[in-house]
Amino acid sequence: MELFKLEHKKLWRKNSTRICVLLCLLYCVGLGSFLVYQWMTYGSIKEKLSGHNFDGYENIRNCQEYSRKYAVLTDETLQEWVRDFKDLYAQLDEDRKTLGFENIETVHKIGNSDMHTVNGWLRTLYPELERSDMLGITVMSDYVETEKLTGLYERRKKAVDTFLTVSGQTGAERDYLLQINEKVQEPFSWKWTEGWSNILGNTVSGLGAVMALFLAVTLSALFAGEWHDNTSPLLLTTKNGWRRLAAAKIQTGIAFTLELFTMIAVGTVVLQLVFLGTEGWDMPIQMVKMIAIAPMNMLQAEIYEFAFTLLGALGYAGIVMLFSALSKNHVLALLMSLAAAYGPMAIHNRVPVFMEKIFDLLPLVGSGADVFRTNTFHLFGRYIWSPYLLIWAPCLIGVLCLFPAVRGWARRMRV
């Protein structure tokens, strides 16, 4: 324990560690959360649509206020929303005609209306109502015939079914996925969704890619740095020698990963609570993506994505420590570690499907946003919904890396 504490202190004493943590926090919490909430994504639209104002906090409250009145997603509330939206759009046209320009207040109201999400639902559930001659001219909710927006939940079931057929998921696989889908509770509660959509689609699922860089920089020197510091003769001639030190280094690597993750997660969640509050936590994730099959609410999905990132980060830490232990040069260990994460990420979408599925299992390469998908793995004659496997496999890979890391380091230490 003492050795672990000192090894841990040693890691934190390095300037590179402190700079990495600071940059990581600045990027994830400062840039990725604060500026996104207050300005880049949720700031109200400036006049002449030239960017966003620095008023995200107030604007988010307006957005939440707008959606609050619908409360539950039914045929009636959907129709009501479309009617309201059409009124706003008509008002915008009227302003253009009478004033000669768009009234910024109306623009803000439209921006606050969750229009991207609802138009996504309309395209998914009512594809026959989409007019090809209107694509790119206006949004579907502006022209769709309101009274035809009926049978929402039946249509959702049909859309899931159609999607599975189009994806080639048939037989037992299809039954398995539909079984999961049956647990989705209806009707869906309806609050402002775009905040949650961004959290689950970008903020949390994107943390892994950023963490990979900073974990690689920090942990690649954990073992390999001993060569740089030329301390191996000292370590080898001590009673505890390399064996306990290797254990202390691995504990340090894991502890650092947990600490970095905790700092980022706490920072992100605090800003989320400040800007978005807790409203909408109990909405089903289908409000973000209608054909998602997971019976989860927003909070559960967020916890899944954080857990996915944490376990992926721990798995990746294992890989970085393996490279660090096998290499005498920490720069080489760093390059190999970066290649292990960003290499598969870069070619992920350009490889055959079976390769893509294998890449998804690699730490921090897959995405926690897979919770919205209908992928499966076929193992030992059983179908497993991919998120069940994707969350554990990266961590397991990391754990498996630790054994060769210790053995490899021990072998290389003998000079």
Binding site: E2, L3, L6, E7, K9, K10, R13, K14, N15, E226, D229, N230, T231, S232, P233, L234, L235, L236, T237, T238, K239, N240, G241, R244, L245, R414, V415
Partner: protein, 286 residues
């Protein structure tokens, strides 16, 4: 306690770094002398069991040291030639870290660290980062870490490198006190350090142990082979080329040469008392 080295050999490809060295070491200070590349560091690393020998073995009280594992390392203190340290650690933190590696309980480690920092004269720099230290200060941290576990076998590779004369004296006194019931092996190019503290001198040349004995025993080997000769500066240059000149001293217009030679090099040469350095230079010149 007895450390026996039995025909220890280390070969790198065609080069033999240590060639069939045998010796028996009992408590006391052993000074390892030899020019660069003589095999001193290689021999020390094998004695520390961090370098595998090509042939031969090392026994501690009859037990082969590599088979003793942690038991042997627990008895060992080692200061490598190129002492590596953690630049961002303070001297105190570094020693605490090494104490943890040496399995010293935390309660004792703090006390021992404080004591040793005082012993090596770094008590005031205890909280400063090692990277800010001068070469001599770093070397003193290295000496302190080697002494942390009060080792029964202390192996110091060039411990006085970088130390100023005052610190060298402090170090010599420290080792003399320390070696009462312990085996201390130290290598250095500074012959006077060995002369001052070594109970026995081990002279290595091209991987072989060429001489072993006390300072006076070895000095005797050089008796009658050390001469002083006073010449002109021009003649001094000629003598430097044709004889082993241990020292050269200007006295007015003349130069006094200290020549190592089996025979009287010149009629005017005067025989003088030998030192360990003379023997060392004589052995290396052969």
């Amino acid at each position: 306690m007895e450390l026996s080295v039995d025909r220890l050999t280390k070969q790198y490809g065609r080069k033999i770094a240590v060639d069939c060295v045998s010796m028996v070491l009992k408590p006391g200070v052993y000074g390892l002398l030899g020019e660069n590349g003589a095999g001193k560091t290689t021999l020390m690393r094998m004695l520390c069991a961090i370098l595998e020998s090509t042939a031969g073995e090392v026994f501690l009280d009859g037990r082969e040291i590599t088979s003793m594992g942690a038991d042997y390392r627990d008895l060992l203190g080692y200061l490598p030639q190129d002492f590596g340290y953690y630049p961002n650690y303070t001297a105190k933190e570094f020693l605490l870290y090494m104490a943890a590696l040496k399995g010293i309980p935390r309660s004792m480690a703090g006390k021992r660290t404080k004591e040793l920092l005082e012993v090596v004269g770094l008590e005031e720099a205890a909280s400063k980062k090692v990277k800010t230290f001068s070469g001599g200060m770093k070397q003193r941290v290295g000496i302190a870490q080697a002494l942390l576990n009060q080792p029964k076998i202390l192996i110091l590779d060039e411990p006085t490198a970088g130390l100023d004369p005052k610190e060298r004296v402090r170090f010599r006194n420290l080792i003399s006190d320390y070696a009462a019931d312990r085996i201390v092996i130290l290598s250095t190019h500074i012959v006077s350090d060995i002369e001052a503290i070594a109970d026995e001198v081990l002279l290595m040349k091209k991987g072989k142990l060429v001489s072993q004995g006390t300072v006076s025993e070895l000095t005797k080997q050089a008796e009658g082979r050390v001469w002083e000769l006073t010449v002109t500066p021009e003649e001094a240059k000629i003598w430097q080329e044709k004889a082993a000149v241990a020292n050269l001293r200007h006295e007015g217009e003349q130069v006094v040469l200290r020549i190592l030679s089996d025979n009287k090099p010149a009629e005017e040469a005067v025989s003088c008392g030998a030192t360990l350095e003379d023997l060392y230079l004589y052995s290396m010149h052969e």
